[in-house]
């Protein structure tokens, strides 16, 4: 899970307060500013120090070339770090890999979790048990998941052992450059399936039963009901899940750090790991900051698109 935040799913209901008519109401409105700030100050101060200040610092870092070791020897390089982001083959590959990773995770999670949610919404027994079990990886940290899967995927690990037991050849998984990325996609899907299923379930349960019953009376089969009623009416949920999964995949770090170090041949070099390695192991925080800014811009674009799309037509 992202550390302490989920992406925007709420309508910004704050809006801009309209001015009350002049007189007592407006005077009270102005007087309210003081207590309001009193309630808000701790939050805003922390936000300023730990969100806005790092943003400003990062913008500054990205224009310099320096080492954490010797900040006083910093050299101003202007836009060079940004140019390097778009010309350095390793960084470009990392961005591409991250993009494919996100695509893979979303493309797998959404349909599979939808089917699971339909199952959970149905009447088959043992649903509660299934829901608990698929939620276990969600509450497990990414470190434990990565560690567990490292051993599962080892040449002599559990998965290869099972493959051998059914007389299939052992697979390279994380040591094979054609399999590594797919492997961590599957691992991430495994981790997030429970959350997506539960989100879909909530969406499914908010579709009014009467719509289904009316459609059944009209002679619509299960498939037709799903296509014409369910899918359109949970479009907001679907979109929300797509965004949650996208943001989580964009922030993925443990698979690269713990399992692969970006290998083989950079096919698992997720962008956050690339930033971390550039800043702390290759000692180039200026360049890493430029990369971070590019990633932030992507994230903002995604959020803006989502906020636009969430004003969909399917409100019933």
């Amino acid at each position: 899970m992202p550390s302490g935040r989920a992406p925007a799913g709420v309508q910004p209901g704050g809006g801009s307060a309209k001015l009350p008519p002049p007189g007592r109401a407006r005077r009270r409105w102005r007087r309210e500013t003081l207590p309001a700030l009193g309630f808000l100050t701790p939050f805003l101060v922390l936000l300023l120090i730990f969100q806005y200040l790092p943003l400003a610092v990062m913008a500054r870092y990205s224009l310099y070339d320096y080492s954490l070791f010797n900040p006083s020897q910093a050299k101003f390089v202007g836009a060079q770090n940004f140019i390097q982001v778009f010309t350095d083959p390793a960084t470009l590959q990392s961005l591409l890999i991250t993009f494919i990773f996100i695509l893979g995770v979303v493309a797998l999670v959404v349909p599979i979790s939808f089917i699971v949610a339909v199952y959970l919404n149905g009447k088959l027994p043992a649903r509660a048990l299934v829901r608990t079990m698929i939620f276990l990886p969600v509450v497990t940290s990414s470190v434990v998941v990565a560690t567990l899967w490292t051993f599962l995927l080892n040449q002599t690990g559990l998965i290869n052992s099972l493959l051998q037991a059914v007389h299939l050849p052992p697979a390279g998984f994380l040591t094979d450059k054609h399999q590594a990325l797919a492997t961590i996609v599957v691992m991430t899907v495994w981790q997030q399936l429970g959350l997506a299923s539960v989100l879909f379930l909530a969406g499914l349960q908010s579709v009014p039963r009467e719509l289904y019953e009316a459609a059944e009376v009209d002679g619509a089969g299960v498939l037709r009901r799903t296509v014409s009623i369910t899918i359109p009416l949970i479009s907001r949920t679907t979109l929300f899940i797509v965004v949650v999964m996208t943001v989580f995949a964009l922030q993925a770090f443990a698979p690269a750090y713990i399992m692969t170090g970006g290998a083989p041949e950079g096919t698992t070099n997720l962008i956050i790991y690339q930033i971390y390695q550039t800043a702390f192991q290759l000692q180039q925080p200026g360049y890493a900051s430029a990369m971070s800014i590019v990633v932030l811009l992507f994230a903002i674009v995604i959020s803006l698109i989502q906020m636009r799309l969430l004003r969909t037509r399917w409100n019933y």
């Binding site: 070791f69 080892n154 450059k177 041949e265 000692q283």
Partner: protein
């Protein structure tokens, strides 16, 4: 209502208490407390080290025992965090006085002005007494930055039970040492025999636990590249450059890391992991030698103690080579921060720990290979089998990993390239990629 307020009050005070408790960080500024017999009082020197590494508590205590005017406070971190901790503390206003750091980083720290030059503090005998590998590793730009603490290197261990059963007798002297093709043949033979006997996979060569347990760690695996080179070849030849693996001015690896000889060595290395003559696994297998799951293992000298304690019947043979025998040296060295406020005292303490009777006693007790030849002579254990092998390897074949101010970046790129090669990447492509990623950083 009162209950609510009380709850909030409790929450605030608990959070405050915890916050205060959590706020403790390790800042100790050197202080001098007046004590009889010490003209400047007892000075406290701050020490930063990696866990289980020098300067160890016994080393510090032994020095304190004969130098009552000095005492130490120690901060230690896991070895993997040492470099970043040093990077964090170096520009601060309060760097540690004494640092136990990874010797290959000497050039990097010295070039950034972090370390104190030791030339004025070293005894005159040091220069001729110290092993050449240590001297070149601890020298930067003509100055010495640490007296050196210990040396260590890789040797090829083997499980005697398995090799005897396969009819293999590895050489016991450096003169008769195996070449890599010979070693691979022996490993293959042992692998086949042992697997047949055990009914489950036994590897010829144990997967390395060095680095993070995946292939590529340059300390071991760059030897496959460098050993194809020849330091006695003409200075402009690619054979010469392959051996040194980094240009003399430290500014490029193009033509030094991706030479035809290096590619040849890398191709051989790749075939250890896959193909019909594969003798090892791409993923880790802890304690393989001890558990009889591997015949051979390239390991550091302290592994001898581990194997002895585990009761394994083992042997040691020198590290194999291609054209030129070579082993990488480099262990933890102890130095002093240039901006320390007690440079003279700290330097004296370091030299006191790394020379003379105290040094000998520590090396003997912990079975470490000293950097001073005179100390080595006084340790009978080091002239006997098995430890005589790494001692001689260090003396005759020892080379530091290519030193330079950008060693961390060098290490990252070379390790990554070797890992890709182990997993099956084309050696030439992988080495060229490392060169193109590394050269911009090196030329800064």
């Amino acid at each position: 209502m009162k209950y609510k307020k009380g709850a909030v009050g409790i929450a605030i005070s608990v959070a405050t208490v915890l916050a205060l408790a959590a706020c403790s960080s390790a800042n100790n500024s050197s202080k001098a407390t007046p004590v009889a017999g010490c003209p400047n009082g007892v000075v406290t020197l701050t020490v930063l080290r990696a866990q289980n590494n020098s300067p160890t508590d016994p080393q510090l205590d032994a020095y304190k025992a004969s130098n009552k005017c000095v005492t130490f406070t120690v901060d230690e971190v896991p070895f993997g965090n040492l470099a970043s901790k040093i990077a964090v503390l170096a520009p601060s206003s309060n760097p540690p006085d004494i640092i136990g750091f990874d010797a290959p980083q000497t050039a990097s720290y010295a070039s950034q002005g972090f370390l104190l030059p030791f030339d004025t503090y070293l005894p005159s005998s040091w220069s001729s007494d110290v092993t050449s590998a240590t001297k070149s590793e601890e020298t930067w730009n003509g100055k010495v930055y640490s007296p050196g603490n210990e040396q260590d290197t890789l040797s090829l261990y083997y499980n005697k039970k398995l090799t005897d059963a396969a009819g293999i007798k590895p050489p016991t002297t450096l003169e008769a040492a195996w070449t890599w093709p010979q070693a691979q043949a022996a490993m293959l033979q042992c692998q086949k025999a042992a697997t047949a006997a055990a009914g489950s996979t036994v590897y010829g060569l144990a997967p390395s636990r060095l680095g993070n347990g995946t292939p590529g760690f340059s300390y071991r695996d760059e030897l496959f590249l460098r050993s194809e080179g020849d330091p006695n070849a003409p200075k402009t030849s690619s054979s010469y450059k392959t051996f040194w693996a980094l240009s003399t001015d430290g500014k490029t690896v193009d033509g030094w890391l991706n030479t035809p000889e290096a590619i040849k060595g890398a191709t051989f290395y790749q075939n250890l992991f896959q193909g019909p003559n594969a003798v090892t696994s791409k993923t880790g297998l802890p304690n393989a030698l001890i558990n009889g799951k591997a015949c051979f293992d390239l390991e550091v000298s302290s592994n001898a103690i581990t194997l002895q304690k585990a009761g394994v019947d083992f042997g040691m043979t020198p590290t194999p080579h291609f054209v030129t025998p070579i082993v990488h040296t480099g262990a933890v060295a102890i130095g002093v921060a240039a901006r320390s406020q007690h440079t003279a005292l700290a330097a004296k303490a370091v030299i006191g720990m790394d020379s003379g009777a105290q040094y000998l006693q520590w090396a003997k007790a912990n079975v470490r290979i000293p950097v001073l030849k005179s100390t080595t002579k006084q340790m009978p254990a080091l002239s006997q089998f098995p430890l005589i092998i790494p001692v001689q390897e260090i003396e005759k074949w020892g080379q530091p990993r290519p030193p330079g101010p950008h060693f961390s970046a060098y290490d990252v790129y070379v390790t990554s390239a070797l890992k890709d090669i182990a997993y099956g990447a084309d050696p030439k492509t992988a080495l060229d990629k490392a060169v193109s990623g590394l050269d911009p950083i090196l030329s800064k």
